[in-house]
């Protein structure tokens, strides 16, 4: 995948709406109808950030990575992923980020590559493409015609079309899992509910101890059983816990104490120096 210039990032963030990326998302209308039921920031309004892997908390949101690749890169990636499109066989594969010291690895799915700034009038490679008279609207810049020197990407070979690659983790697919969860208010336990959801999602879900004071799942969850990620997040909030999907795919519900212990441990051991932001102060220690 390409390491690109600031110029590319600016163009993409300016001209491509993040909503366009999710226009094929299966539950857009449902999310719109849900309104403010879930407390999370709206993922679909999050800007496209090239070269980033965004890993959110919760079941209803999914990890997202945006990158660029040329057509040759896309073809190579499809081959490596073993895509068998005629038979609708898609496979996830490890997405690996490395800075020489640390490697971040997560199994991700590649969504359909989205063509970027391609010039349909000038499929042939030519340095004069940008001077062809325009008889209809074209996207603002094409990889072919944009002066590469100004981008600082002189090593990139001309003549290849660019694609926006969007990678997602399993949680994106959770929205497409049909539910056979049985919830009998007053009888079904929280443990049973989480276990059933995990079975439907084909993933084990561990929980911290659920206080008996939370009783049993109520009928308020019934309308949300249609989409497992929604009922999973709502149920987690209802028992004072949050869903965390780790980079290795394990899924757990954490209470605040477990989560804060993890934060403190990692702050004490992470080797990377802080370069921005910091720590909120809630006490004087």
């Amino acid at each position: 995948m390409e390491l690109y210039s600031t110029r590319y990032r600016q163009l993409i963030e300016r001209y491509i709406s993040p909503k366009d990326i999710w226009d094929n998302f299966p539950a857009v209308e449902y999310l719109n109808a849900l309104g403010p039921v879930l407390p999370y920031r709206d993922q679909r309004l999050r800007p496209i950030k090239l070269g980033s892997l965004w890993w959110p908390q919760g079941a209803t949101r999914w990890a997202t990575g945006h990158f660029l690749a040329t057509d040759k890169g896309v073809a190579a990636m499809r081959a490596a992923l073993g895509y068998d499109l005629p038979n609708f066989i898609l496979n996830p594969a490890p997405l690996i980020l490395s800075d020489g010291n640390t490697t971040i690895t997560a199994n991700m799915w590649m969504l359909p590559p989205r063509p970027l700034f391609q010039n349909p009038m000038n499929p042939a490679v030519s340095a004069t493409n940008s001077t062809v008279p325009l008889t209809k609207w074209l996207l603002p810049v094409s990889y072919n015609s944009f002066p590469l020197d100004a981008l600082g990407n002189t090593t990139e070979p001309p003549g290849e079309q660019l694609y926006l690659l969007t990678f997602v983790d399993d949680r994106y697919m959770w929205w497409q899992k049909s539910s056979t969860v049985s919830l009998n208010p007053g009888t079904t336990t929280w443990a049973s509910l989480f276990s059933q959801i995990g079975t439907n999602l084909n993933v084990g879900i561990t929980t911290d101890t659920i206080s008996a004071d939370y009783g049993t799942p109520g009928d308020f969850l019934l309308p949300y059983l249609q989409f497992l990620p929604v009922v999973l997040d709502l149920a987690a909030f209802a028992v004072g816990q949050r869903l965390v999907r780790a980079l290795d795919g394990t899924v757990s519900l954490q209470n605040a104490t477990t989560a804060m212990t993890s934060v403190d441990t990692q702050l004490a051991t992470v080797p990377n120096p802080a370069m921005g932001g910091g720590i909120f102060a809630f006490d004087l220690s």
Binding site: L38, T102, P223, F237, G240
Partner: protein, 341 residues
């Protein structure tokens, strides 16, 4: 260290929707939980806690009222205390930090997200806690569920909604046989409808059935047009004390913003016999706004018309609404209502 104003409320009102008598019981049961009572010493009283602020933590468990008091108050109080404690502890999420390089950060429950970035300009890792005070949206706010007055004007989950031209007081009335009754349901914003229901007040003779449906509308005439959902036969000969009968719509039906839909009901009880006084008694809603609905009420008799009755022999709803012989109706409207998710 980052400076933070004292944004943590000194107490939380944990609210539970009520199930009781709308005319005598409050709509919510409230349990106030103070931060001090929880013994959480992690919050500095000066830096973090606003002594004058109270947050609201809505819950979905139902407060059961009887004879002016809540019968499950002890359980709800224990639940409120635990929920408040968990909520306060999650407010201790303390990171909005950027590490140089790719940090091996393991996602955890207090952080809203972890973001690893690797571009030509920067290689970094950002860890950010969730929204500052999400207490008003911790769980879906649920309105109270009273035995009366349970049609609401604001569309929220788990509440019945019907034509906005009606009032909210329910009355029992006889359901006309061999007719489809249709009330208009305008949709200002896209909604996922998860059920359609009716309220049965008095059962009919053995074998009595009711049947609900949803139609879309003709874009020109606004008349009901294409069948979207047929709820099938629902028994109406079993005593149930006048509660709502909801037919689940699964997968949910998406009603798109800016469109008009029609909620329909029909019954097979012939005891009505053109106005007779026996048989199924069904919920009707006050008509409190004396206005015609767009497309209806044009017959010059100056009586507000906003729903439709059309002759139809009881059975499955036809794919196209049978407008032939239909009449425009006013007065109390049939209480057929939907719930959206």
């Amino acid at each position: 260290m980052m400076d933070t104003p004292p944004v943590i409320p000194a107490s939380l009102d944990v609210t539970f929707p009520s199930s009781g008598n709308a005319s005598t019981d409050p709509p919510f049961f409230r349990v106030k939980v103070t931060l001090a009572s929880l013994g959480l010493t992690q919050f500095d009283s000066t830096l973090s806690v606003n002594a004058f602020a109270t947050g609201i933590l809505p819950r979905n468990e139902t407060a059961l009222w009887s004879s002016g008091s809540v019968t499950n108050a002890a359980a709800l109080t224990a639940l409120a205390t635990q929920a408040a404690k968990d909520w306060y502890l999650y407010q201790l999420g303390k990171l909005d930090i950027v590490f140089a390089g790719l940090a091996p950060w393991t996602p955890e429950g207090t952080s809203d997200y972890v973001e690893w970035t690797q571009t030509k300009d920067i290689v970094s890792t950002r860890v950010q806690r969730g929204t500052a005070l999400p207490y008003v949206a911790q769980s879906p706010a649920r309105q109270s569920i009273f035995t009366g007055g349970d049609l609401n004007s604001f569309r929220r989950p788990l509440v019945h909604y019907t034509c906005p031209v009606t009032g909210q007081s329910l009355h029992a009335g006889f359901l006309r046989d061999n007719q489809i009754l249709a009330v208009p349901y305008p949709v200002p914003r896209t909604e996922a409808i998860v059920s359609i229901g009716f309220r049965l007040d008095t059962v009919g003779p053995a074998g009595s059935l009711l049947r609900c449906a949803i139609y879309d509308s003709d874009p020109v005439s606004y008349d009901p047009k294409n069948l979207l959902f047929d709820g099938g036969d629902q028994v109406a000969d079993v005593t149930d004390g006048g509660v709502w009968h909801d037919v689940v719509i699964s997968p949910s039906l998406i009603m798109n913003s800016g469109n008009l839909y029609w909620l329909c009901i029909q019954g097979n009880d012939t005891a009505y016999a053109g106005g007779g006084g026996s048989g199924v008694q069904f919920g009707y809603v006050d008509q409190v706004m004396l206005y015609n609905f767009r497309g209806l009420g044009g017959d010059g008799d100056e009586t507000a018309k906003f729903w439709i009755a059309t002759p139809f022999t009881y059975g499955p709803y036809p794919a196209t609404f049978p407008m032939g012989g239909s009449t425009e109706e006013g007065g109390n409207a049939p209480a057929v209502a939907v719930i959206h998710g």
